[in-house]
């Protein structure tokens, strides 16, 4: 790794591995034997994942309903908006994909609010197509 540019573009671990090998040999010389099997930090991580999974299984499913608006865009595709959640807008090539993206975005936003200890907004609006006739008094 003499060329400094190479440091940026390569995932070059040659020096790193050499250093690790050197340290490994030093440790062996000191009589330290590496334990076999997954290291404790991996075991700890797996335990945390299992605990989270168990918590999720026990948590009751929370269901919310929000009003969503879909409109075709000039540049093709669809925009989906949830007016109840501030700045909650997604865009996708099809209406179905926009719907899926909006649900994903809502999940993310609602989970973030729950984690922050905020009260979740409730939908108070309802959709209705209104007709407007011009020319009447």
């Amino acid at each position: 790794m003499n060329n400094s540019q190479e440091l940026f573009f390569a995932k070059d671990d040659a020096d790193h591995w050499a250093f690790i090998e050197e340290m490994k040999q030093e440790r062996a010389a000191r009589g330290i034997k590496e334990p076999e099997g997954p290291p404790p930090f991996v075991q700890k991580m797996r335990k945390r994942l299992e605990e989270r999974k168990a918590q999720q299984m026990q948590r009751p499913m929370l269901q919310y309903a929000f009003l969503a608006l879909f409109e075709p865009m000039d540049s093709n595709g669809f925009r989906a908006v949830c007016p109840t959640i501030e700045n909650c807008t997604v865009e996708a090539p099809t209406r179905e994909e926009a719907k899926a993206a909006l649900i994903g975005e809502l999940k993310h936003r609602l989970r973030a609010k729950l984690q922050a200890g905020e009260t979740l907004p409730t939908e108070r609006g309802s959709a209705e197509m209104v007709e407007v006739a011009l020319g009447e008094s």
Partner: protein, 197 residues
Amino acid sequence: MPSRVPLQVLSGHCPIDELPDQLDLSELAGEMERLWMKSVERLDEGRAVEHAATIVLRADGSLKLINEVAGSLFNVIPNFAVAEPNTFLGTFHTHPRIDGLLPMSFSDADFVSVIQLHEKLSLLYSDEIVFALARTAATADHVNFYTVRSEFRSFLRGIDEQSELFLGAIWESNKWLAAKYGFGLYMGTPNTLIREV
């Protein structure tokens, strides 16, 4: 389908205290596992080869690994060419070893390349464990390689003096460097990663 990794994380500008507790990378899990298997397919012959790919954000908001490349036991050079409508996010690479010292987390050179290349997400697969560095609003823009190498080694030696667990010491060095340079650091299975820093 849009990625399950929040867009704020993929932007590379997420405030560090707003990083999610876990990342769902299930959309990339199959590809990551396949590249790991290629990395160690000749382990019986005493050979292993680092593999890499480029992580892109597609127009539909999903993530994909493209530009698969193979390197050597010690390094791999990703192919960074990304054409529209894909957007470059970062790189994926593997850390196979033939001596069983696994899983091996990021190296000092990995940290430097992630910083210098402005990778927003960098993924590393080693022995069924995935490590991830997420760039944040606090991540350094530039860094000197020799400074990072010196810091990494000093920290590792300091821990190693007290530690009976070499792999754990290397992982602690990763956590220290991630905190110092403003990264979010995650570790987990290919599907779900837990935030460690």
